[in-house]
Amino acid sequence: MSAVVDQAEQAIAATVKPRRWGSWYVAEHRFRVMRSYAQTVVVTAIGNPLIYLYAMGVGLATLVDGNLGAEAVDGVSYLTFVAPALLASAAVAVASEEFSYPVLLGFKWNPVFYGMNASPIQPGQIINGIVISVTVRMLVTLGIYFGFMLLFGAVPSPTGFLAVFAALLTGLGLGALLMGYTARIIDDNGQLVMVMRFIILPMTLFSGTFFPLGVLPIYLQWIGWISPLWHGTELARVFAYGASEPIWLTVVHVLYLAVLLGIGWTWARRVTVRRLNK
């Protein structure tokens, strides 16, 4: 056997693991980076539910329940009504943090994606790795959030734990789209700031988070119908306290979020292949 054929065979053998596990290796990288801001991750994961559930669920709930009765909104207490929505919002908060600047950074300001791509890691695996790492961080955050919801007595249904997965799907669906959009940014002119300020943040106001979407005038309700946060929130409510809605609508929530995730994920992978293979 010639030396070159021998080397080709060695190369093929050496790439079995990166081909199979490359996405996980990228996730390992993200975990290591997250460790550098672990304090923020932990503080927000514990602080957010504590503050929001207390302020909204206990503070505001006193006012709402006091005026409208104990089954004031959607047939449950205000705390029970708002808690699943806050859970979904927490997933969106993690998504908007992890699927935006780390992606922009990897392509532009700290271009580690090019370094990864010079190794056996493939562009699609970079995107997969980001999705894996954010899923893990999101699950930790949502797990803690759900723990606080239980402590506050805001989860009457035995299927309540499924609200965590509804919120996860919400974060991933929205986040994947954000990741696709971010991957396309060549010149950073503050586009992400605009997206955060004018799409992500106002989304809570039009997604039935603090009050049912039906309360809004009909000409504003369409915002909720296209908002992943509304679909995720409604889904989480079905699981957390058995909010009543037709089964087809529950299926639509799941499908809508899954399709967003699929579109965003594929989009981000394609853009990354194009950007890294010049």
């Binding site: 080709a8 050496a14 490359g22 290591r32 950074l105 700290n110 271009p111 090019y114």
Partner: protein
């Protein structure tokens, strides 16, 4: 020549109508140190990216370690070490962490990566910086860390794209020393540079590339022999007189080149040309006889016009 580890035939890379690489062919033998020389925009980095299996060629044939990058990109990259033109170290991680994380991309076990990382930190003389932040390193240190990172998988071929650009002389010499050691260990080096002294120091063989095509190929000594004279006499008569004197000495040496600040007389014997000049009653303000260098070859082949 042993079976080549890199074979490029008529390699073309086009961006719409612009051909960044326009029919380049070359071969690199195992253990050889091969250089791509050329001005900015010559197509060196594009060629490197194609060899690095991160840029798909428009046409031509390319084989790296017997594999075609079109079907075996990750396989080829598993055996390469890449030092890009600008460092893409992870500034969010510490020095040693950069090596640990990078080793994992090759599927290497954690223990093996950790051992290799420590060896490479010693090789790159960065042991005491293991826990430093990347941004705290000097330019030379970052470059050495990038090289160390490129070696984490014990590559068969090391690709270096302008490895010493922007470094001070001390840092360059340390880097050259490290690269020379790798060469001694049998690593194949493929490097681009526009520093001629670097090419002379490191390259067994090189090609001069301009506008996407190869202008000349050979060892540094061969190229000098073929495209320049053995020696160069440099004389200065003052910027206003240079052109006038050049007319008087037309016919001196093999060739004369008039630059704004001096005249270059290419000759097999610079001292003899200087004597002829004195006999002709011409007394330059300064004169210097030096050996012809790769820089003379480079400038002759690619011209002196500034390319930006």
């Amino acid at each position: 020549m042993p079976e080549p580890v890199i074979i490029a035939q008529n390699l073309v890379k086009k961006y719409k109508d612009f051909a960044a690489v326009d029919g380049i062919s070359f071969e690199v033998a195992p253990g050889e140190s091969f250089g791509l020389l050329g001005p900015n925009g010559a197509g060196k980095s594009t060629t490197m990216r194609m060899v690095g299996a991160v840029s798909t060629r428009t046409s031509g044939d390319l084989s790296i370690l017997g594999l075609d990058p079109n079907g075996y990109g990750p396989e080829i990259r598993s055996r390469l070490g890449v030092v890009p033109q600008s460092d893409n170290l992870d500034t969010e991680l510490r020095v040693r962490e950069n090596l640990l994380v990078y080793g994992r991309y090759f599927g290497l076990p954690r223990k093996q990566v950790a051992e290799r990382a420590d060896e490479l930190l010693a090789f790159a003389q960065l042991e005491d910086k293991a826990k430093s932040k990347v941004d705290a390193l000097s330019g030379g240190m970052k470059r050495r860390l990038t090289i160390a990172r490129a070696l984490i998988n014990d590559p068969k071929i090391l690709l270096l794209d302008e490895p010493t650009t922007g470094l001070d002389p001390q840092a360059r010499h340390i880097l050259w020393d490290r690269l020379f050691r790798l060469k001694e260990q049998g690593t194949t080096l493929l490097l681009t540079t526009h520093y001629m002294d670097e090419a002379e120091q490191l390259c067994d063989r090189l090609v001069v590339v301009d506008k996407g095509t190869i202008m000349a190929e050979g060892s540094p000594a061969e190229l000098i022999r073929k495209h320049s004279s053995r020696e160069v006499l440099e004389v200065r008569f003052g910027s206003e007189r240079n052109a006038q004197v050049a007319e008087q000495i037309a016919g001196f040496g093999d060739r004369i080149e008039v630059l704004p600040d001096r005249i270059l007389v290419y000759s097999g014997n610079g001292e003899r040309e200087m004597e002829r000049m004195t006999q002709a009653g011409l007394h330059p303000i300064t004169s210097l006889v030096r050996r012809s260098s790769l820089e003379d070859v480079f400038l002759r082949l690619t011209g002196r016009t500034l390319i930006e």
